[in-house]
């Protein structure tokens, strides 16, 4: 029975209260352990299409008569533009041009570099670009605000400062035997999706549009486009069959979709608007920089008495101030915690969600701080974490499930390697091992729906308007349906990525896809399975007869199952946990750092596809290594103009930078969560990587790195500081 409830919904660490109609989730969870299909490694259903170039991405679309768009964007962080687009209209191949205000997303008031000002569409992209150069545009350049601390002082903030306090922080500090204070800084990094942000928009009627777009959320695009264009939601069809990466940056339609929609309306042609790589690395979002001023107090045995932090998120002109304080609030059983978080509004491009926004940055600060404490108290970092393990959620409430101690236990053999790793140090190359814990969301939630259709050939199709952002969701959903229906995996297809062809499913963000849509798929398959068993009974066949043998007389009749995602457990925190252990080498003369091995143990409930899961862990760790060692978006300190918009200047890791990666999953269903007990794994693997590497560097060299990326400059600085500290220590007794 459908039930209307008022509930908290979490996306990317942000909660909102919503009304939801939920259907009870009557199915029992499967017992722990691999099943016939679920829990066994499955190759991607669409692997061949993707590898052979047959998969059609938005970037591949070339509709008959389609026009191409070039966008004039502000090269200045803060400026007022005076624009005359008319010269562009006379250029070869041009069909239409838009100036500031002609769509809401085009503006003459530029508050960040990359603000869209004007746009032109033409028969070819080269013609559109030439026409954009012909636009007459003067920018009156204004003084930009670039310093996050200055923005906080001036009260230039996105949202109110967020103060979260429990216990008595000051008393906790007073009770401490040891106090460590440190300032950590993280840089701006870019998503760099292989497929840049883009859309192809076509008006199919006077009042209806079709939007092909590289997106993580076809329904979100549908609603935003419908609202923006003043259309009924069902007059907007949104399609995304394949996409080349998003990492959180493709949840919304953005300027390019609305520019294409208006140009398509004016020209009555399909119009593509695709960002170039330089635009992508300017105006498509980023993980914002942070400043974290942190304090920890502990008794001499390592029991935490106080945790405190001032967090400044250098958000940029838009976006939100993410939960950088989250790990400090949530990870440990510390009674006295006080954090204040500011979102600095700057004349820099807006942030967007990027794979566990806030928690990646906050975990670097917190977990590095904890190891500085361990070093000061001469405690084993793993034991320090076990000692302060939270049995209950420190902010209140029960965990739906938590296997962090089991993660620590499984990490022990990797942690034990530190003696042998250190012993492999030489005169100039020091080796060490570091670890960091992971906490993040990933429980998903309602609503999401799926249909399952079984034909008389015994083959099944899962129909749901979700999207596969490249994580292998298609394959995981097919596995769930195959398991429940008891048909071979190769007899299940999945239709997704089209709002006109399937029911609502959640966005592919916040590690929520599998835990949100998976239970709906299982429910739909179970509905179909019940009908199949009823038919078997009527045909006098055994209940467990092969599906194909049961349905072979149906001809054109079909068995249709439908399923919905049930509610999350009331009053419980649904979270993911894990630990990573990194082995690094540091050349103490040249400041070179390289990672030799990372072992990852994560707890995300039941694992649907172990092969896909290990790929997610590897991908997260590789992206984390880039974040830790080489990636940084730089801007000129005086003008704020971006300097690293191309892939030669912005340094992603190469395959030569990728170490041995060992991944393990606890694979224990969360007994309170849905009919699957599965949580998401898209984000957890990137959360602890930077801290684990930084802690391994400390283990190898004694140096405290406090800034990302750990460049040679930062590494050599930290080494010099450690050397000076050592000298002071050695020198002190002589002075007494």
């Amino acid at each position: 029975m459908a039930r209307l409830i008022r509930t908290e919904k979490e996306v990317e660490g942000r909660y909102e209260e919503v009304w939801l109609v939920v259907e009870e989730d009557a199915l029992e969870q499967w017992p722990t352990g691999p099943r016939d299909v679920v829990g066994r490694p499955a190759e991607r259903l669409d692997g061949f299409e993707r590898a052979s170039g047959q998969a059609v991405y938005t970037a591949d679309l070339d509709k008959p008569g389609m026009l191409h768009t070039a966008v004039l964007r502000s090269p200045h962080p803060r400026a007022r533009a005076t624009v005359d687009v008319s010269p562009a209209l006379g250029m070869p191949g041009v069909h239409a041009a838009l100036g500031p205000g002609e769509v809401e997303q085009l503006s003459a008031e530029c508050n960040y570099q990359g603000q869209a000002v004007a746009a032109v569409c033409a028969d070819t992209l080269a013609q559109a670009r030439a026409a954009v150069r012909a636009i007459r545009c003067d920018f009156a350049v204004l003084e930009p605000l670039l310093d996050p601390d200055e923005a906080v002082r001036r009260g230039e903030l996105l949202g109110d400062p967020r103060v979260r306090e429990r216990g008595d922080y000051e008393r906790g500090l007073a009770e401490a035997d040891a106090v460590v204070e440190a300032e950590y800084r993280t840089q701006v990094v870019l998503h760099n999706s292989m497929e840049t942000h883009q859309a192809v928009v076509e008006w199919t009627r006077e009042d209806a549009v079709e939007v092909h777009i590289s997106t993580q959320y076809v329904w979100g695009i549908r609603d935003a486009v419908a609202e923006g264009l003043g259309l009924p939601a069902d007059n907007v069809r949104v399609v995304c069959h394949y996409m080349g990466g998003g990492f959180g940056s493709k949840n919304s339609p953005d300027d390019y979709t609305f520019i294409a929609a208006e140009l398509a309306r004016r020209t009555r042609r399909p119009v593509k608007c695709a960002l170039t790589r330089r635009e992508e690395n300017t105006a498509a979002g980023n993980r914002n920089a942070t400043i974290q001023r942190l304090t920890v107090g502990a008794r001499s045995d390592g029991t935490l008495t106080a945790l405190g932090g001032e967090f400044v998120n250098a958000v940029g002109w838009g976006g939100w101030s993410s939960g950088t304080e989250g790990p400090m609030q949530m990870l440990y059983a510390c009674p006295n915690v006080k954090t204040t978080t500011y979102g600095a509004k700057l004349n820099l491009p807006p942030m967007k969600a990027f794979r566990a926004p806030g928690f990646v940055e906050g975990t670097f600060g917190l977990e590095a701080l904890l190891d500085e404490l361990a070093a000061q108290l001469d405690l084993d970092p793993l034991e320090l974490r076990r000692l302060n393990h939270a049995e209950q959620a420190p902010e209140g409430g029960e965990y739906s499930d938590k296997n962090l101690l089991e993660c620590y236990r499984r990490a022990e053999p990797h942690w034990e390697r530190r003696h042998e790793v250190r012993a492999r140090s030489t005169g100039t190359v020091k080796r060490g091992v570091g670890m960091a814990s992971q906490i993040w969301y990933g429980g998903g939630g309602p609503p999401s729906y799926a249909w399952v259709r079984v034909g008389s050939d015994g083959r099944a199709a899962v129909v749901t308007a979700m999207q596969d952002i490249g994580t292998g969701t298609r394959t995981a959903m097919a596995q769930i349906a195959a398991e429940e229906l008891r048909v071979p995996l190769e007899h299940v297809s999945v239709s997704l990525g089209d709002t006109d062809r399937g029911p609502y499913a959640t966005l592919s963000a916040g590690s929520s896809t599998t835990p949100s849509v998976g239970p709906a798929v299982r429910a739909a398959a179970a509905d179909a399975r019940t009908q199949i068993e009823e038919i078997a009974e009527q045909r006098g066949l055994p209940k467990d007869a092969p599906v194909a043998a049961v349905v072979d007389v149906l001809e054109d009749a079909q068995i249709l199952g439908k399923g919905a995602r049930g509610p999350n457990p009331t009053g419980m925190q649904v979270l993911t946990f894990g630990v990573q252990v990194a082995e690094v080498a540091v050349d103490v003369e040249t400041g070179e750092v390289w990672v030799e091995r990372i072992a990852a143990v994560h707890d995300v409930g039941r694992v649907i596809n172990p092969l896909g899961a290990s790929s997610q862990i590897e991908g997260g760790i590789i992206q984390g290594i880039g974040h830790t060692l080489s990636e940084e978006r730089l801007h000129d300190p005086a003008t704020g103009r971006l300097l690293t918009t191309t892939l030669d200047a912005y340094k992603l890791p190469t395959i030569a930078d990728v170490p041995e990666i060992v991944s393990e999953l606890v694979d224990e269903p969360d007994r309170h969560l849905t009919n699957l007990g599965s949580k998401g794994l898209g984000e957890p693997p990137i959360v602890p990587t930077a801290a684990a590497i930084a802690n391994a560097i400390r283990d190898a060299t004694g140096a405290d790195v406090r800034q990302l990326p750990i460049t040679r400059e930062e590494m050599l600085r930290a080494l010099r500081e450690a050397e000076a500290r050592q000298k002071e220590k050695v020198g002190a007794p002589a002075g007494v």
């Binding site: 103009r641 300097l643 918009t645 030669d648 200047a649 460049t711 050599l716």
Partner: protein, 269 residues
Amino acid sequence: MELRQASDTTVDGVPIHGGTEVVPLLRAGLLRAETLVDIRGVVSRGVADGRIGAGVPLAEIECDPQVPEVLREACRLAASPQLRNMGSLGGNLLQATRCWYWRLNWPCRLHDGDECFAREGEHREHAIFANDFCASAHPSDVAAALLALDATLTTSRRELPLAGLYRLPTDDDRRTTTLDPGELILDVRYDKPDASVYLKAMERKRWAFPLVGVAAVRRGATTRVALAGVAPIPWLLDGFESAAPLPRNAYKVDVAKALVKRATAAVAG
């Protein structure tokens, strides 16, 4: 834009060989050309003892056992396999700086402006020697190797030592090479060293320009050391006294000193 095949070494237009540098510069509007002249047919692709044609791609140099180790390693550590398959020896020597201000067409001194933006701005990858007028860093690993080898170039007009190919930009002449328009590098010659080595510090393991590249070549009792990535031109090292690092690139001095120590030790007889 028109593309012509060169019939001899008299070139009227912008010469193009592998295109790994010319094409990105054209696309970024940093190089303008009415005519591109494909010189692949007229520049030598041969490798002989002590002589390499300017048309030889880096990928062939790196695996040729006749070539001294310093040059092979400089090729191996440059760019990516795809780029090394296309990029030629001559073109590599003529690469423009990776200075982001220059690449983004800021009106800097190399673009005939009156300011070096890097000096006051983001200069972590920039020059630590001879950087008072322009702090750009020369990106060629290969040029440092050939400078250490004390190589000689033959162009379509003259012979000159490799060091003579480069010049520091000045107020009245902003060029960083002495090549005249239309002048082509044809080949490179050098005497065989007794020992040689190339060491390179980068921001990642592969496919990055040198933060510091160190080439060391020993003949008898004499060791010649040249550096990449530390000055607006390939830099023949004459001690570190003249180093004048900027606030955010002083680390390069430490890195260079460490690599020079290792390189000279590696070639010591």
